[in-house]
């Protein structure tokens, strides 16, 4: 379960940023997760809850909000942009297979709230 290492990375970023911004307690964390990452939202939630118990920076009832990004591709031949469904990296417009991945591998904290 690599989600645990991911949440560890999240908490470390939060600690650094909270110190810079003089924030003592965090109540909400908004995370963006691309659908091509192998991070499972439920497992991220589960790991977040485990960290929340130990990490004084996270409020007891702190919330992790996850926004999933679709897998988007751009055809290098005809520049058509499309959502990649069922992992088929083929252009629906020209059937080209030179597809650049535009989104789907995101994994970042969009924002957090605290005081």
């Amino acid at each position: 379960m690599h989600e645990y290492s991911m949440v560890d990375g999240i908490v470390r970023q939060l600690r650094a940023s909270a110190a810079e911004n003089n924030i003592k307690q965090i109540s909400r964390v908004a995370l963006v997760v691309g659908k091509l990452t192998m991070a499972v939202p439920d497992a991220l939630q589960f790991s977040f809850e485990a960290f929340r118990k130990e990490e004084p920076l996270l409020k007891e009832d702190a919330v992790l909000e996850i926004r999933e990004e679709p897998v988007m591709g751009e055809c290098k031949d005809c520049q058509h942009r499309f959502e990649i469904k069922d992992y088929e990296f083929i252009c629906p417009s020209c059937s080209g297979v030179n597809i650049k991945l535009v989104s789907g591998r995101e994994l970042y904290i969009e924002y957090y709230e605290g005081e």
């Binding site: 379960m1 290492s5 994994l107 709230e113």
Partner: protein, 223 residues
């Protein structure tokens, strides 16, 4: 209440360490392969067969990732190849920061090819760049042909796939045609080698590919 916008990637620390590793490998002209698969697909046996068929003068070193044991490293060491073991102590994947400290244990001037055997797992290792030149995924026919669609990221990011245990193909329901089609949908640039690490079938093409990558990397580093 304060709202702070961030947007730095969560794996940034890993990606930075991977960049440093990659730069070091570039300077030294070492071709680095990140070998990934599920447990039991035959990564270590593939490695043993690769050692056996290594062309004269091609100097290999191995990093073995394992959760707790040193069994795989012992198998490699028995064949006289420099090997360093990384025990992840529970973690399901290697990350770039684990690689760096091990590099001091090798005489890097005497290494042309470094193969990093990742922890047996098709999910987590895919997410972590180690600084490698290429990723290879080993899939054995006994696992079934549905694996690429179930674990697309690892197949999307791989440069080569070794379809192992093809000597057992008649005893399985693995549909090679469907497997080929699914892999091509996910990654049309994937180079596929059907092999049997046990019998050595298909290894000539695999070894040629590997030797070609090493030559290419050395030539690029001399420029």
């Amino acid at each position: 209440m304060v709202k702070v916008r961030l947007a730095t990637p969560i794996l940034q620390e890993n990606d930075e360490a991977a960049r440093e590793n990659r730069e070091l490998f570039r300077e030294r002209g070492i071709f680095v392969l990140n070998l990934m698969s599920s447990p039991g697909s035959g990564k270590t046996t593939t490695l043993e067969r690769t050692i056996e068929q290594l062309p004269e003068g091609l100097r290999l070193a191995v990093i073995e990732g394992d959760i707790y044991t040193t069994r795989d490293a012992e198998r490699i060491e028995a064949r006289g190849v420099p090997v360093v073991q990384i025990n992840t102590a529970g973690a399901c994947h290697l990350d770039a920061r684990m690689i760096k400290p091990t590099l001091g244990d090798f005489d890097l001037d005497a290494v042309d090819l470094l193969i990093i055997e990742n922890v047996g797992n098709l999910v987590c290792p895919a997410e972590f760049d180690l600084g490698e030149d290429a990723r290879a995924v080993v899939l054995s026919v006994t696992e079934g042909n549905d694996k690429p669609m179930k674990y697309p990221l690892i197949f999307r990011l791989a440069r080569v796939a070794l379809i192992n245990k093809i000597d057992l193909l008649p005893y399985t329901d693995c549909d090679m045609e469907e497997l080929g089609r699914d892999m091509a949908l996910i990654n049309p640039e994937l180079t596929v080698f059907p092999v049997s690490a046990r019998t050595g079938q298909g290894f000539t093409l695999w070894m040629d590919w590997l030797a070609e990558q090493v030559r290419h990397k050395q030539a690029a580093s001399r420029q």
